[in-house]
Symmetry: C2
Subunit: 413 residues, 2 copies
């Protein structure tokens, strides 16, 4: 089975919006085991769209169009498809009712122009739009399928998932299930990860493993294609176990979890509270921790002591220590962590000091030099880092390492 995608919209052709729909649809089709050979984009031009439609219907079994279903004159997809398939446009009462309901719920009267969206090509299967007004539809002719979807991703995605996938599965007897699991890793480079699982990366379908580098993280994606969900899960779990055996606690989470979320769960589970004393990260660590709903249960206090004066006054770093070792030093990081823990009366204290750049570096203490300290009743530890990158990257890498240090500390307990 071969599919292709035609995106319509002059905004895409002019580069005013980035085509994320194609990537989304391609990924979903691949998961269904449907091959995609071509993606095309064309402006709001009936002639050129008709050309692409005819070409696509010749070479592919499934053609998906996105966009151009709106009520304005530049929305030409509906009419062009009807013409190409030589179908009349039929007024559909149920669609009009749905559109009117959509406006009524928002407390707005339906603009008369939207009546145009209640027309659908004769014989089409209507795809309900749960997020907007324009319905999608499917036309079948000579065992070829044309699937027309609206352009806004917020409308296209639920329509594809709730209406199109079940249709394709039943129509093409796609009984196989494709399940994926993403394993998330931090604190180790992509090549170091790859080295440890080289053999697994060579696995062939129905069970494969992919590797992707993200900022400061490496993601491994397991994909299993099986007759049913249970069998796929068994295969995934087995491979996941093997990966865990090799990578240990470098793995911090899976699928949609992020590091701050995993850390939050660990803090709640261990009934621990935390406070953070930041310098070079400027509040980023506190900000990431408090991005998690319910973080007030464990996050008590953050101090961003950007000046030496505040390090002395608020964090009670002795001025002799600051003078002797400098603000960016192992010693100062450690005192920051210890003191913030005492000040906030928490179980864990974090102290971070470093040079985020672009200025402020010296040959002895270059940009990217960072000290992160963790202080708990049973443990005090300071680590030295040399991060590369610009100011924002150094801030981000530092926050990532700090969060991961706490995670690892809690894991070892």
């Amino acid at each position: 089975m071969k599919a292709e995608i035609i995106s319509t919209g002059t905004e895409i052709l002019l580069g005013q919006i980035i085509n994320t729909n194609s990537a989304y649809l391609s990924e979903k089709l691949a998961e269904l085991g449907i091959d995609i050979y071509f993606q095309s984009t064309v402006g709001d031009n009936p002639k050129r769209l008709a050309f692409l439609l005819k070409q696509a219907l010749k070479r592919s079994d499934i053609v998906i169009t996105t966009g151009g279903l709106g009520p304005t004159v530049d929305d030409i997809t509906l009419r062009t498809i009807a013409n190409t398939f030589k179908r009349k446009l039929i007024f559909d009462k149920r669609i009009l009712f749905h559109i009117k309901e959509h406006f009524r719920k928002r407390g707005v009267e339906m603009p008369p122009i939207n009546i145009r969206q209640a027309y659908i090509p004769e014989g089409a299967v209507i795809l309900e739009n749960r997020q907007g007004t324009a319905p999608g539809f499917i036309l079948e002719e000579n065992r070829k399928f044309l699937i027309a979807l609206p352009g806004p991703p917020s409308e296209l995605k639920p329509m594809f998932e709730k209406e199109v996938i079940p249709f394709l599965k039943s129509k093409f007897g796609l009984k196989e299930v494709i399940l994926t699991r993403t394993i998330k890793i931090t604190g180790i480079s992509e090549s170091a990860v790859a080295e440890k699982i080289e053999d697994l990366l060579k696995l062939k379908p129905p069970l494969t493993l992919g590797i992707n580098a993200h900022p400061h993280e490496v993601h491994l994606k397991i994909t299993a294609k099986e007759k049913n969900k249970k069998m796929a899960l068994v295969k995934i779990t087995k491979l996941e176990k093997e990966i865990k055996k090799r990578l240990g606690n470098c793995i911090f989470g899976k699928d949609k979890e992020n590091l701050e979320e995993v850390l939050g769960k660990l803090l709640v589970k261990n009934k621990k509270t935390i406070a953070v004393a930041e310098s070079c990260t400027g509040g980023l660590i506190a900000n990431r921790i408090t991005d998690i709903p319910g973080s007030s249960r464990y996050f008590i206090l953050g101090i961003v002591a950007y000046s030496n004066q505040e390090k002395i006054k608020l964090l009670r770093v002795p001025s002799e220590i600051l003078e002797k070792y400098g603000a960016v030093s192992k010693e100062v990081a450690e005192i920051m962590a210890k003191n913030i823990r005492k000040i906030a009366e928490t179980d864990i204290g974090i102290g971070v000091t470093g040079i985020a750049g672009p200025k402020g570096g010296s040959p002895k203490k270059p940009v990217g030099l960072v000290y992160i300290a963790i202080s708990a009743r049973d443990k005090t530890e300071v680590k030295e880092y040399h991060f590369l990158g610009n100011r924002l990257e150094i801030k981000l890498k530092t926050s990532q390492e700090a969060l991961d240090l706490i995670r690892k500390y809690l894991m070892e307990k």
Copy 2:
């Protein structure tokens, strides 16, 4: 003049990466006044790429390919183009030297496989790659141009700007200059902005105005097409003045400037220092302020007092006030702002308290209720906000309003 873009890469067809190159190239071509009618994507398949190439060369004057110039077996663009144009691949010593230099500078030996990238179709114009190894190239035949560019955006963009644009300008005598300016607005909705400049949005080339909503900002883009830069600038400046007359200090900056950067410049200019006491924003305001290089000149201290206890202890909010009005109140925000200013001995203090959700709201104090206070020697002000959205959106909107309050205060001075 008509152009089209062919993106190659199975990763794009499988939806593993989003095609940002097409949007970039389309925007640049539009700025040059070159029409784009089609964008296509094809996998690493020589037959299908050859098909697209031939089709594109028939209907367009300029065909741009992206990707597939790497050294591995799945990089098929170079060979496919050479075959389509019936040109031999010629070894080029200068390219090999450039590739070797690229590795030498990084202190790495060139893998032998990269020698493949030193071959180029006979008669091609070589496009230098300043960021990577694979050169791009231009082939001309029967007044049609094929421009082959590498896939990574970090390599493609500088190559297009430094090599391709000058080539196209000289080849097609594109003497007109297209200049753009983006005017950035915050604190007012897109529709409210549109209402004030409705007539200007209807302007026709050579001078146009576009409007775009971004998270918590509205951007207006002026585009002028003129015979030379000076004339374009005159037109842009005139329109910008008119917009400023209508929108006043809702405009915070232009082009690549962001709000924290503009604020930083104002603080330096006015020789003012700042400290922030945050609750619901959890460090985000301090983090945004310290994203700007050199912010240590004006940012002194941030306290994230997430618990009431810390508001009392560190920010010296009287417990009676907390009990009487609650932590999320006008009164507490004001004391937070005043006290952080005193504690850090700064010119300006900011106090923020609110309910970011999803939990913690009540009928009287719902999620999204936020108080922001600004305290300076000559001014104390507290504002109440009701923000919509999820936790992260409420945090972001609050930080945006807080930064903008300080900006407006400094503007009025």
